[in-house]
Amino acid sequence: MYPKELLYTKEHEWVKVDGDTAKIGITSHAQDQLGDIVFVELPKVGDKAHATQSFGTVESVKAVSDIYAPVSGDIVAINEDLIDAPEKINEDPHVGGWLISVKISDKTELDTLMTADDYAAYVSAESES
């Protein structure tokens, strides 16, 4: 369910590391909890992302939620497709529904993130409580 090649946060974001850059999105579990996403607010290319701080919001029919950066760095790309088609996050959260791409400034921040197995365990523990 959660791709092995991604890393995960407790706030339900994922990171795909490719060399110095990290693609960031929200997990399948997050989109399921939010329900149909109707609007996405993203930063601009050139802005900075700061680990654990909000870089944008997703709005569903239920609520508006902050999205937190798993790693710090310069934002080098945003997923422009989401502006007209935010439903991509629901349909394909781990690939086509990516949000931003960041040039990682401190790779040690990746050490705090969870593997797919750890995240799956975290989600099932969270939904039981």
Partner: protein, 504 residues
């Protein structure tokens, strides 16, 4: 084709724009009996509005029928239970309307001289005094026009107070169960918002609070009872902790309907709070409103309240005091939504102290009666004792693929307005039910029967619940599509379309 084959009850109602026919009029002005002037040259070109293209032209009876038909589609508290949790959709007693229509009140003008406005000022003075007494606070402003506006006013007062102490702070704390307006207010007032996680009982955890409150914290904003309908039993200790570190305690009074006559926020350490007169004090709610969000404060915050303030001069009646150098200024034209204030005072006087206390007891009793009637069929995420509302989750129903929104839609088929869906956010799939004090046992039993019947249907006919409502003129609407592609403005059909010969 015969166009009118169904009665208006089931017919769809076109917009007035679509009914328009050139030259029709619903009014007639008397003939001009003064010399005509050129508005553009008198007022300036930019102040004269051009013709509005496509403005509907209809007859009087068409307007009357249009709005009368629409009004028959409404659901209202005057038709039945309106269990929208957190909103306190209580009955608006008719005595309020009678009092608000008394000539001297209905026709009072804000520019009337003070000596001719003594009755009006007395209404405001008395209402402020009663609200002070009910809340255990020292002063009240009636200016804010709604709850969120009250929050803004209260937090601005906190900010001015702290700045006057030379101790401007930058952070406001709010629990994760807070109404969304609390963090929004803090942000509007220039504060950084930090969220406090609730403990496993849905309450503020003193240990977590202890770690969160440092000398950058201006205030904690808390709703009590909180949004899961449970009383924050450590509220006095939380207040002590905040005060010892120079921070203020703000209370969101959205749930005061559970406290009036039994517990006073001022007695459990609250420094500043707002009330929603359209919730707790039975004034009209929702689109009809308007609302009113008075703010009550302890004495140290009084100098910062909006001006003018009503004062009792003793021998010389009431007057408005504008000489308030520390005031945050006006937050509303004139003195707030006065017509609403009259209704709230009427409600308080009609009940009397004992009556208000009984209303609170009945509100709590009714919520607990519903809780008892449904607890074996719907999951109760927090076991603490319910106050004026009860929050279930859809955990038992999601096994059949049914979510809180589906149950709410099905409830419409049983003739009730839905409960509050998906709030508070700390309960996944929340069903938030607040019956208020006015409902009798008969109506509550009907509601419980409906909810139990839906729980059965979730097991026996989940698809039917998923596609509800079935008995309404419009079946389930596509909320996602509406949110993604909102059509907020009517536009005339394209000429070419209109000129096409009709297919029939």
């Amino acid at each position: 084709m015969i166009k009118k084959v169904r009665s208006h009850i089931v017919q769809n109602e076109p917009l007035l724009f679509e009914r328009s026919s050139p030259g029709k009029k619903a009014y007639q002005l008397p003939e001009l009996d003064v010399p005509e002037v050129n508005l553009a040259s008198e007022l300036g070109e930019e102040n004269v509005r051009a013709e509005i293209p496509g403005f509907p032209e209809v007859s009087e009876v068409e307007v009357i029928r249009h709005f009368t038909r629409l009004s028959t589609w409404n659901y209202a508290i005057d038709l039945g239970l309106y269990p929208l949790g957190s909103c306190t959709m209580k009955y608006n007693p008719r005595v309020n309307e009678h009092v608000a229509r008394l000539e001297g009140l209905a026709w009072a003008h804000p520019y009337q001289p003070e000596e001719l406005s003594q009755g009006v000022l007395r209404v405001m003075w008395d209402l402020e005094s009663f609200l002070c007494e009910i809340c255990g606070m020292d002063a009240v402003t009636l200016q804010p026009a709604a709850g969120a506006h009250g929050e803004l006013t209260g937090i601005l007062a906190v900010r001015s107070y702290l700045e006057s102490q030379g101790d401007a702070r930058k952070v406001i704390l709010a629990p994760d169960s807070a109404h969304g307006t609390n963090p929004a207010t803090a942000q509007m007032c220039g504060y950084e918002v930090r969220e406090i996680p609730s403990n496993e009982r849905g309450l503020i955890d003193l240990e977590v609070l202890d770690k969160a409150v440092d000398d950058s914290v201006a205030a904690l904003m808390v709703t009590n009872p909180n949004t899961v309908g449970i009383f924050e039993e450590d509220i006095s200790k939380a207040a002590d902790l905040l005060h010892a570190r120079g921070a203020q305690l703000y209370m969101d009074g959205a749930n005061m309907n559970a406290l009036v006559g039994w517990a006073r926020p001022g007695d459990f350490g609250v420094d500043v709070m707002h009330l929603n007169l359209h919730k707790t004090f039975s004034t009209p709610h929702g689109g009809g409103g308007p609302g009113a969000g008075p703010v009550a404060v302890k004495a140290h915050l009084e100098p910062f309240l909006p001006k003018p303030r009503v004062v009792d001069t003793g021998g010389n009646g009431y007057k408005l005091d504008y000489d308030r150098p520390q005031s945050i200024g006006r937050v509303r034209a004139f003195y707030g939504n006065f017509g609403v204030l009259v209704r709230a005072l009427s409600y308080i006087l009609a009940h009397g102290g004992e009556g208000l206390r009984n209303a609170t007891a009945d509100a709590v009793l009714n919520a607990n009666y519903i809780r008892q009637g449904l607890a074996d069929r719907y999951h109760l995420p927090y076991q603490g004792r319910s106050m004026h509302e009860v929050v279930f989750s859809d955990q038992k129903q999601t096994k059949q693929g049914i979510k809180t929104g589906d149950i709410a839609k099905r409830l419409i088929d049983y003739g009730f307005h839905p409960y509050t869906v998906s709030f508070p956010l700390i309960v996944h799939g929340a069903l938030m039910i607040e019956p208020t004090e006015t409902e009798g046992k008969g109506e509550l039993d009907l509601f419980i029967d409906a909810m139990r019947s839906i729980a059965d249907e979730v097991e026996s006919a989940p698809e039917m619940v998923k596609n509800a409502p079935h008995s309404t003129r419009t079946r389930r609407v596509n909320e996602t599509l509406a949110a993604r592609n909102p059509i907020v403005r009517w536009e005339p059909a394209v000429e070419a379309e209109a000129e096409k010969p009709a297919a029939d």
